[in-house]
Symmetry: C2
Subunit: 238 residues, 2 copies
């Protein structure tokens, strides 16, 4: 018996939920930093510092202070600012390569096996703040079996704005309650629930490293709570 009666599409938060952004960014930052003689900078600290600028950058869009701007652009502005703080200058091609580290993130080991089990019975798409190209390049490189690339750019709104969820359901030709969001973040799920979607929490206890203190447990009675995508597939009867 499925945990989600009536749900036809599963949409997924991506950074942290499907892919391990912190180790992926650190891997490529390490190469970049070594090339610039800055092995003194911890690559994981670099990843955290870059990611720390993520919410404020999107907030400028969510608040209406700037028009919708895709995440590749925000990531690049944030990178330029971060490198300025470190006093590092680099060529355009190298900056573009590092910015696209977000396109080269690896999935958690259970993600693709779980998605492949869910796919025959559900429509699968990311509902991420990543832009279409970022998510599509990531999927192409890693073999993530999405049926379409959805998310902020298709909806022209950043989570947790309600339009990010409701427009995604509309693109899918579904009522919000026929769509379930899978995410490792209680805040994202809370916003999805307010917009009418079903919710599944998947625990990612090391997204932020070994000492993670946030999102270490389900904070509401989400329709499903699982320790991996494979465990979620079990609950869905897939």
């Amino acid at each position: 018996m499925s945990a989600f009666p009536g749900v036809k599409a599963l949409v997924f938060d991506t950074f942290g939920t499907v892919v391990d952004w912190r180790n992926g960014i650190a891997r490529d930052a390490k190469v970049f930093l070594a090339r610039h003689g800055r092995a003194d900078i911890d690559p994981h600290g670099f990843a955290d510092a870059w990611r720390k600028r993520y919410q404020p950058a999107m907030e400028a869009v969510r608040s209406g202070r700037r028009p919708f701007t895709r995440l590749d652009v925000l990531h690049r502005e944030n990178l330029d600012a971060l490198l300025g703080e470190y006093g590092i200058t680099a060529e355009e091609a190298e900056l573009d390569w590092l910015n696209r580290a977000w396109h080269r993130l690896d999935p958690w080991p259970d993600a693709i096996p779980g998605l492949l089990r869910m796919r025959p019975r559900h429509f699968l798409a990311p509902l991420s703040n990543g832009n279409i190209l970022l998510l599509a390049n990531m999927a192409k490189r890693a073999g993530i079996p999405w049926d379409a690339i959805l998310g902020a750019e298709a909806a022209q709104a950043y989570k947790p704005q309600p339009e990010a969820y409701t427009r995604t359901a509309e693109i899918l030709g579904l009522a919000p309650g026929e769509v379930a969001l899978v995410a490792a973040h209680n805040g994202d799920l809370a916003a999805a629930r307010r917009a009418g979607l079903k919710t599944a929490f998947v625990l990612r206890p090391t997204e932020h490293g070994p000492d993670q203190t946030t999102d270490t447990r389900a904070e509401q009675d989400w329709e499903a709570v699982a320790s991996s995508f494979e465990a979620l597939a079990d609950q869905l009867g897939c």
Copy 2:
């Protein structure tokens, strides 16, 4: 040597170029018409009559007389009008099933083998007037290996408006000249070329049935001209 030096993404017209819409619609129309005791109506004629309303419906959007409206909605309005002419009434579920015949079209036999050869070296996406759900359901059912679902809904503009082409390139993070449109229609290719894209004509001599008189040859010096997706893959060196 590739026919497209510098081209990183291949985008594809879909109805007629990738899939055989006429036989697909006729197949499901035949079932519907028989159920309603109207075997007197030729299913291929029904498909042609439904398709005939396609350009005028999009023209209402292109001209600005109505806001961007996805193709599933236009198809359904056109179906309702067509059935009204035939004096046929049906239940909502049945109308929705028939309207989604556009989601269940089969690719031409060479399409998927050709795409699978092109995919390792190119980013592949539809650039169709079909909406995201339509194209994604079609791909899921038939196994079409797109990297992302692009087109009118992502660009919020219907071909041959220039924005349909230029916004698609922008989503891909590419200059227009780094994108090539593959299409069986000279008019589509001409608009893509005016927008700065590269162009490939693939001949589909029976899209409109055995007596087709349009698009039976390349009408400009398109960068590539091929008789099938496999022949195009040859020209691309894939």
